[in-house]
Amino acid sequence: MTSGDTSAPPAPTSEAAAVPPPVPAEVTGALAPPMRTVALDAFFGRHHAVQDINLTFPDRSVTAIIGPSGCGKSTFIRTLNRMHELVPNAYAKGEVLLRGQDVYGRGADPVAIRRAIGMVFQRPNPFPTKSIADNVWAGPRFIRMNMRRAHREELLERTLRGAGLWDEVKNRLSAPAGGLSGGQQQRLCIARALAVEPDVLLMDEPCSALDPQSTLRIEELIAELKERLTIVIVTHNMQQAARVSDFTAFFTIENEGEPGRLIETGPTDSIFSRPANPSTEAYVSGRFG
């Protein structure tokens, strides 16, 4: 598969050829965008955190969500795979359409939806006592309990290669994940999310706890992953948004206590070079936030 090639150039070609692309053909038909939101609102009890978000995430692209602290970026991204509602009293209104189907609709099951929409968090959160391999297998084990051994090990290698971690850990797959460095842990978390073969990957400030070297690795990885996935990334770092994303959405909050709103969205270069809205311009040029 493609990412196997890029992360390890001399990889045997037979292997790469044997691995089919993870996203099935009929859903990549690029007719319906993989995900879009319609009039999405998010609440914490009485607090209205995010208001009226209409945003489309084009297929196999990276969409960056930027904005000042407290503008609801993280809350918004957590509504996309229904992680938001795990906070007591938190709820969302509106629609999140995954290939045309509402993830908040009747009969939609949050557990199943989170498999189709993976997530990587701000702080690396591998299961520290489980081995590296068991971390990768955690998701598949939820879904189909008895994978054949050969398939299991192939999946392990494929996802770790996909996350650019294979060469660093291939000799200690049974070591506890808690022993990895912060950057390695985060890439393990990406591998873990990839192992359930999601359509969409949400990344909530995935590099904010990492050093510049590790950040660079993750950004390279994002560029590889968008070949086959739709990625939504929340970031505080505008250079990062400019480097990794194809599209950018700018959120802001006008006054304390008001909900966060989507101000402007578009191709990343136009948002950064020719923003239409003055507050977007103020933010991207570093005048506030």
Binding site: M83, V111, F127, K170, V196
Partner: protein, 653 residues
């Protein structure tokens, strides 16, 4: 204090040449701080060490008569035989202790884990706090109250069930009749009900430490709630839950009063579980009063065995768990290494044919039926564990209220217990006695305990390598004392203090309860001191404050509420103890406030009014006293929690 005069100079003026030596007074004060805390540790440990030594030296006769191995494995216990040659062997009591504890743990641990999971993740959020509060309350109910409930409620209720089992046991020896009023099964049941809330309460605290990120990691992979529990919460808290279970086991092994009430006193091995038996602690409590000479020596030897057994359980638990929460312990590490032995694939091998990833049908994915069913069954099991646990626990609380409330009146608090069991009376002497004992116990344990905690945590830890080893050694002894069964505390004080004074006294009772409180105070204070952020200490040290001043004006104020909470929880634990009082403060049928005389106490009053005599009047007195005792302990717990809650925001974690 002794800081230089730089502070009074105007800012910006050239500083005068300063001495870089520490002022002598600061040096002396730091030295004094180290010496005072070290002396406190030395005094506490030599005091308790002396008592333990006195106890062990009383057992010489038994070892020389029967030999160590002969006594440990001896199956006969005949104190007053026809032929005049008494025989003593410890095996029936070790057996009884292990069997009752095993029954209790087999029932309590799975239920307690279920209760802990229910109150952290499974129950609807608004029910978690009230259910947790009930469990915490039950964890604080003294064992004499469980014993009282067991003998008056459980024994009659369980009798038909046990008789049915005996009749239909089909000749299996373990379940053969006749059914007696005290039995292994009943004792194990009550022990289970007793340790369940303890294990559940601690396990809940452990489960609550599982970080949100870990739970979210599992949810984000598409785990159901049960799958999240299994993959994220249980592995994270496994060692803590093992530790909680070990603590519960320690309590079960050392439990005296409930067992003495519910097991009978019959030194047997391999007899029916529906018949009577005896444990190490129950035989000490039941026979100590009339024992003399060799029998006394044998009973003391049993207490030494009991202490050793508790120590072994603690040591084993620690070995299994490993001291750190993160890494797996040695046993798990060994298992993990073997399981994944063949996991590392041979490099460069031919690529395996890969099954295609499942083609996802258009439309929303769904959760398979099998997973739904499995998760549903697991959550159902957790709910079932909660309900099964809350029924007996609810019955106990209800019974205390229903039977205790009618006894309460003004005169109940002002009158003395009646001289004969057919008259009504009050609990004035016992209530005052309990308060005096609590005061004495706090006096003996709290100041010393805090100084010892400072020694372990700060004074020794910042000294040289020898000092650090000494601190670690003291910490180890504290952990050993933490596992000391309360009846052993009573016995060593009897031998070291009561015998030396020549009579029972409130003072001796206070010392015994103080010995129970002391290691709890040290450990909780130690943990709180550890929570004070290093940055705060360093801020003070960087200003040039000497060590003792840093402790006095930065560390102790920050830790004070937490230390107070620890002392109050230790006090709540000690105030319900009955067994140690039987050997130390005894009782007093008159109103007494003299600390050098025997004194009455609530737990002891409950015990004697439900065991020695059982008349309607005495039972009413016992239930009323139980209600008052539970109320006192509840009050202590609530105040402790309020103190802790008020302090939390400033702690900054």
């Amino acid at each position: 204090m002794t800081t230089s005069s730089a502070g009074v100079e105007p800012l910006g003026s050239a500083p005068a040449r300063r001495s870089l030596r520490r002022p002598l007074a600061g040096l002396v004060a730091d030295r004094a701080y180290l010496i005072v805390t070290a002396l406190a540790a030395a005094a506490a440990l030599t005091g308790i060490g002396y008592l333990i030594w006195t106890t062990v030296s009383e057992t010489g006769d038994i070892w020389s008569t029967f030999g160590v191995w002969g006594f440990l494995t001896g199956t006969e216990w005949v104190p007053t035989p026809a032929d005049g040659v008494p025989v003593f062997g410890a095996a029936p009591f070790i057996y009884g202790t292990l069997v009752t504890s095993a029954i209790a743990m087999a029932l309590a641990v799975p239920l307690a884990i279920g209760v802990a999971l229910a109150t952290t993740v499974i129950l609807p959020a608004r029910l978690r706090a009230p259910v947790s509060a009930v469990v915490d309350l039950l964890a604080a109910v003294p064992s004499v109250v469980y014993g009282l409930w067991g003998i008056l409620v459980l024994v009659p209720a369980a009798r038909p069930v046990l008789e049915w089992i005996a009749e239909n046991s089909g000749g299996i020896g373990a379940f053969a009749g006749p059914v007696t009023s005290g039995s292994f099964v009943l004792a194990g049941l009550v022990l289970a009900v007793m340790v369940l809330p303890i294990i559940a309460a601690i396990s809940r605290e452990v489960l609550e430490t599982v970080p949100r990120e870990q739970q979210e990691a599992a949810y984000a992979l598409g785990a159901t709630r049960w799958e999240m529990v299994r993959s994220a919460m249980l592995p994270w808290s496994r060692s803590g839950i093992v530790g909680a279970s070990a603590l519960g086991l320690g309590r079960a092994v050392g439990e005296t009063i409930a067992i003495a009430l519910l097991l009978g006193n019959s030194p047997v091995i391999w007899e029916s579980l529906l018949g009577p038996g005896a444990t190490l602690s129950s035989v000490i409590a039941l026979e100590f009063g009339e024992a003399s000479n060799l029998q006394l020596s044998a009973l003391i030897a049993l207490s030494v065995i009991l202490f050793a057994l508790s120590f072994a359980i603690n040591a084993l638990a620690r070995l299994l768990v490993g001291r750190t929460a993160a890494g797996p312990g040695p046993v798990r590490r060994a298992l993990a290494g073997r399981r994944s032995g063949g996991l590392v694939p041979a490099g460069g091998g031919p690529a395996q044919p890969v099954p295609e990833p499942p083609v996802r049908a258009a439309g929303l994915p769904s959760v398979s039926r099998g997973r739904r069913v499995r998760s549903g069954i697991a959550e159902g099991g957790i709910y079932a564990a909660l309900v099964i646990s809350l029924i007996p626990l609810g019955l106990i609380l209800g019974k205390i209220l229903v039977e205790g409330l009618p006894a309460i009146s003004w005169s109940f608090f002002t009158e003395l217990p009646p001289a004969d069991p057919y008259s009504e009376g009050g609990i004035s002497s016992a209530l005052v006695g309990t308060l005096i004992l609590m005061g004495l116990a706090t006096l003996f344990s709290a100041p010393l305990g805090i100084l010892v905690a400072l020694f372990i945590n700060d004074a020794a830890a910042n000294g040289g390598p020898r000092m650090r080893r000494l601190g670690a050694g003291v910490g180890f002894v504290i952990d050993v004392l933490l596992g000391m069964p309360s009846i052993v505390a009573g016995l060593i004080v009897y031998l070291g203090v009561v015998i030396a004074m020549g009579h029972f006294s409130a003072l001796a009772g206070g010392i015994a309860l103080g010995i129970i409180m002391f290691p709890i105070v040290v450990r909780s204070a130690d943990e709180i001191l550890r929570l004070v952020p290093t940055a705060q200490k360093e801020a003070a040290l960087a200003l040039g404050a000497p060590r003792w001043r840093t402790i006095w004006s930065v560390v102790l104020p920050a830790a004070a509420p937490g230390i107070l909470t620890g002392v109050m929880l230790a006090l709540a634990r000690a105030s319900g103890e009955t067994a140690p009082l039987l050997f130390t403060s005894l009782s007093n049928q008159f109103f007494s406030t003299d600390v050098l005389e025997p004194i009455a106490a609530l737990p002891q009053l409950i015990f004697s009014n439900s065991v020695n005599v059982q008349t309607p009047q005495s039972l009413e007195l016992a239930w009323g006293a139980a209600l008052v005792l539970v109320a006192v302990i509840l009050l202590l717990n609530i105040v402790a929690r309020l103190v802790a809650a008020r302090a939390r925001p400033s702690e900054g974690r």
